[in-house]
């Protein structure tokens, strides 16, 4: 008796109150049977959806259930940060929004002196946030990878502060709903700027340290699943390696074939090792000899610079909080780079 009347509504079957079972005894809707009307209905609905085209994109504030003040408060508390209301509002207002508002008022014929917009845009905060982010990220990466030349540090930094990464972080923090800008959906550059403005606001409201921790937790963590050496595009790794060895006074790098399989097939595999005076530097596989040699040179460089796959994990969380940045100088550039100096 009870089995035919079990509800098929999602997730309601848990914690069913035994008394309420009697309430359903005569409701045919909740029977577990093959409903002949479901498939045709869904087909018609799909056809109608296709005909009408996709649902137009609307900003979240268009619906009734929206409270901007509550959203701002929740945004701060979600990230475990306390913002002052004015700073946060300023940080989220873009110049384009103010221009748009001015234009609307002009169109409506409202004189600008009578009801002036007492709002400021976030350019100042964007600038301060950007400069803090740039310096801190570089300091952090230099601390984490002391052996990497300055060019490498710059490339890693460039990836982290790129518009793609910052906009990705901004959307997934919840910024895309609360920023005020003229463009909808918000462009990547707008989102990136908003994130920088938030960092600036944090520095302004609280302290530089808290802003730095924010950068560490949200921006630098984007490195944790990346192959870091690959972010640095070295066009001719063999030449770079030879250069370094020459400066050290060591023998030039000698590529040697270690293993090969199926050289006459399309699935050929070559394993090349790089040696300097019989001392092993690096090895890598490849589809052709040229690729294997290049990859082996890259492998040798990654070992020298300490950017291998099994490098020490980046300090985050508790370790990240205990990190003390004690150097403000750049790492040596590639042309001056010496193995003995960096150790």
């Amino acid at each position: 008796m009870a089995s035919s009347i079990v509800s098929v509504v999602r997730r309601v079957s848990l914690m069913r109150n035994p008394q309420s079972l009697y309430h359903f005894q005569f409701e045919i809707v909740n029977s577990r049977s093959f409903k002949r009307w479901v498939a045709p209905t869904l087909k018609i609905m799909k056809h109608r959806r296709k005909k009408a085209g996709p649902e137009p994109l609307r900003h979240r504030s268009v619906w009734l259930n929206w409270n901007y003040t509550a959203e701002l408060y929740a945004f701060g508390r979600r990230l475990n940060e306390t913002f002052r209301d004015e700073t946060l509002r300023t940080a989220l207002i873009h110049p384009s929004y103010l221009e748009q508002e001015e234009k609307q008022r002009q169109d409506l014929g409202v004189p600008s002196q009578a009801v002036s917009l007492k709002l400021e845009h976030n350019s100042g905060l964007v600038a301060s946030g950007e400069s803090l982010m740039n310096t801190y990220i570089k300091q952090y990466i230099r601390q984490a990878f002391p052996k990497v030349p300055e060019e490498g540090i710059c490339e890693i930094w460039e990836y982290l502060v790129s518009v793609d990464v910052l906009s990705h972080v901004a959307t997934h923090i919840g910024l895309s709903d609360i920023i005020l800008c003229a463009d909808f959906p918000p462009e990547k550059i707008t989102l990136a700027k908003s994130l920088k403005a938030i960092i600036g606001a944090l520095e302004f409201d609280q302290s530089k340290e808290r802003a730095e921790y924010f950068i560490q937790d949200f921006v630098i963590t984007q490195l944790s699943d990346k192959c870091i050496f690959d972010l640095w595009d070295i066009p001719n790794p063999m030449a770079v390696l030879q250069n370094i060895l020459e400066k050290e006074g060591k023998d030039p790098a000698e590529p040697r074939l270690l293993w090969q399989a199926g050289s006459n097939t399309i699935l050929a595999l070559y394993y090349v090792g790089i040696y300097s005076n019989r001392k092993f530097l690096g090895k890598a596989p490849g589809e052709t000899l040229a690729i294997a040699e290049e990859m082996a040179a890259r492998d040798a460089l990654s070992r020298i610079f300490g950017l291998t796959e099994n490098h020490k994990p980046l300090p985050f969380g508790k370790q990240g909080r205990q990190l003390i940045i004690n150097n403000n100088e750049n790492n040596s550039s590639l042309s001056n780079w010496m193995l003995s100096k960096s150790i």
């Binding site: 690959d230 399989a261 199926g262 006459n264 097939t265 596989p285 589809e287 890259r298 990654s302």
Partner: protein, 182 residues
């Protein structure tokens, strides 16, 4: 530069799933035992990344199939059945007769059986290359990366020892001078 897959991971993937070419010397080997080992390599079961649907089998080049050694009376009494499909088309061929006609067939059939009955069998057999002697085309020779170890020791016949070796081989005892060796 952010790529969908890093350059290092790409070549690593290529290497992990690389197909090797093994050389197996069938001289003095039992074809049925060897077939088990060859089928294992053709399937890819010697690899920790094995999965039947992943196509991780290697190539096996077998040489000297004319010198295989069947146990006991198998040469005479192992029969291979064949039916042409037409009436009166059934035939039973013994191993020595088959070997005379085609010196790779005995080992081929043994490996075919050892591969099992799955749909992957024909794919595996495509990767088996059999040669009656040790003459292999140069293209295949260049592909080979390693040997498959033999399963039986190759016995050394008396005529393969040099006279000096025979003379100097340590003797446990010496025949008396007037003993007649026949």
């Amino acid at each position: 530069m952010n790529r969908p897959i890093s350059t290092y991971k790409r070549v690593q993937q290529w290497a992990v799933f690389g197909r090797l070419w093994f050389l197996f010397d069938a001289k003095w080997q039992n074809p049925f035992d060897s077939a088990e080992k060859i089928a294992k390599y053709l399937a890819g079961k010697h690899k920790p990344i094995y999965h039947p649907l992943s196509d991780v089998g290697d190539h096996v080049v077998v040489i000297n199939t004319k010198d295989i050694a069947l146990p006991n009376k198998e040469w005479r009494y192992r029969m291979y059945y064949h039916h042409t499909g037409f009436a009166g088309g059934s035939s039973w061929t013994s191993a020595w007769e088959l070997h005379n006609k085609d010196q790779t067939k005995v080992l081929w059939k043994a490996v075919y059986k050892a591969c099992g009955g799955s749909l992957l069998r024909h794919n595996m057999m495509e990767r088996l290359h059999l040669f009656p002697d040790d003459k292999i085309p140069q293209e295949l020779m260049e592909n080979i990366s390693d040997h498959m170890k033999q399963l039986r020791p190759v016995p050394k016949a008396l005529h393969e020892y040099t006279e000096e070796e025979i003379k100097n081989f340590p003797k446990v005892f010496e025949w008396p001078e007037d003993y007649v060796l026949n």
